[in-house]
Symmetry: C2
Subunit: 242 residues, 2 copies
């Protein structure tokens, strides 16, 4: 891919940005072959993080340049010392591992937080059912805090399309009116944990795909926040894994 | 309080806003005595939510008015059909209940999500150690999705100030290098769960205030997102409550 003239991110770009020092370091460590270049700000030199970026770039033969003007133009937050510019990529889902499935996720902050939580609890494979947010949007990259570069992800047009491709995965469907309390569920590997949208959850018909599960909470709230519900589910299932 | 000329929210105001139909309904149900008035948009009439607002206002003798222009001026999101204008208030912390303590929280989305999660798991008392975000900021009100109006909260200048006032509460301090895995902790009521900032967590010296606890996760991430960590802790402690 040729050196692109860098503009504010648009989902139709063939490349995206990792803003900030530690996301850039994670990018350089996990996906060095996708890095087009790294931009650095003059005032960041001498900091531990920027020193590590320079060392990684030199070790891996990746171009870096000081360019305060372009960083200021592209950044949405102040005090960005570094931007990793990377070519978008596709992944294959590991058929032997446990999966996380998000049905039509839209809130980018939630998706980023979920990716970070996945990596925290040892999950590496994420399925997104369309329509879904653009996983390379810098908002997701930032809220995942670098964790995006160490997972596999794949978009599917429908939950049935995914389910047909991975028929051996035990599907656990998180629903407000699920049949089993998560405390009583032994999660049998390989499995997939499936979550609906923040606004509507999973509709009842999804229950036929596997076992429906609920996280008990008071009726004073309609539902838990999606990233909190996913966090509790990943934590519990990684403890109760068979 | 006299009828204020409504402007974009500022933390020095004596009043704040609940944007959206369901947060306004929760406000009218939980804190009717604090509501100054309710603004409605013409196009919302006929919807179930706005009908409920009108009925609640009439029942409780609260002023409501159709004012599209002011709603458009004050709203940050599109499609806001309703704004509840309310006078700010102070609360007393219940000395017999279990508490959540956030040390110097700043991220408003996280604070709102934590409030919603608290109510979901039956916690009603929130302590904020300064410096901390303004709990009446509409961003927090919105992300709490109405749950703000059913909790008690109070600011303290220091954790010691709080701790001295509630010496009988068993303090559980969530730290990356905590002494005990949360799975092995029986939470003895009355207790307080204490969490540090998103960026730095709780410093080691806090451990002397009680029992330090960790949530086990992979080293591939620095930490869990604060609202996810709190979510797991509230869920677990409400199950393991003694």
């Amino acid at each position: 891919m040729k050196d692109p003239k860098l503009k504010r991110y648009d989902k139709d770009f063939e490349y995206s940005y990792a803003f900030g020092t530690y996301p850039t370091i994670d990018l350089l460590k996990s996906k060095p072959e996708k890095v087009l270049k790294v931009l650095l700000k003059q005032e960041g030199f001498g900091s531990e993080g920027v020193n590590e970026i320079v060392a990684l770039c030199e070790e891996k033969g990746i171009k870096y340049e000081v360019n305060d003007r372009v960083i200021d133009k592209l950044s949405v937050k102040e005090n960005t010392y570094s931007i990793g510019v990377f070519e978008k990529y596709e992944c294959e889902i590991d058929k032997n591992s446990n999966h996380i499935v998000l049905d039509q996720p839209r809130n980018m902050g939630n998706i980023g937080t979920i990716i970070r939580t996945m990596v925290g609890f040892g999950f590496k494979d994420l399925i997104l059912i369309k329509p879904a947010a653009d996983i390379f949007d810098p908002t997701i990259v930032r809220s995942a805090m670098g964790a995006l570069f160490s997972i596999n992800f794949k978009y599917y047009d429908s939950i049935e399309g995914y389910s047909n491709e991975f028929p051996l995965h035990n599907k656990y469907l998180f629903m407000l009116n699920g049949a089993k309390n998560i405390e009583e569920v032994p999660f049998k590997s390989p499995y997939a944990l499936v979550f609906g949208t923040e606004s509507a959850g999973l509709s009842d018909e999804y229950a036929k795909l596997g076992e429906s599960v609920y996280i008990k909470h008071e009726k004073d709230i309609d539902s838990l926040n999606l990233s909190v519900a996913v966090g509790i589910a990943l934590y519990k299932s990684s403890l109760n894994k068979l």
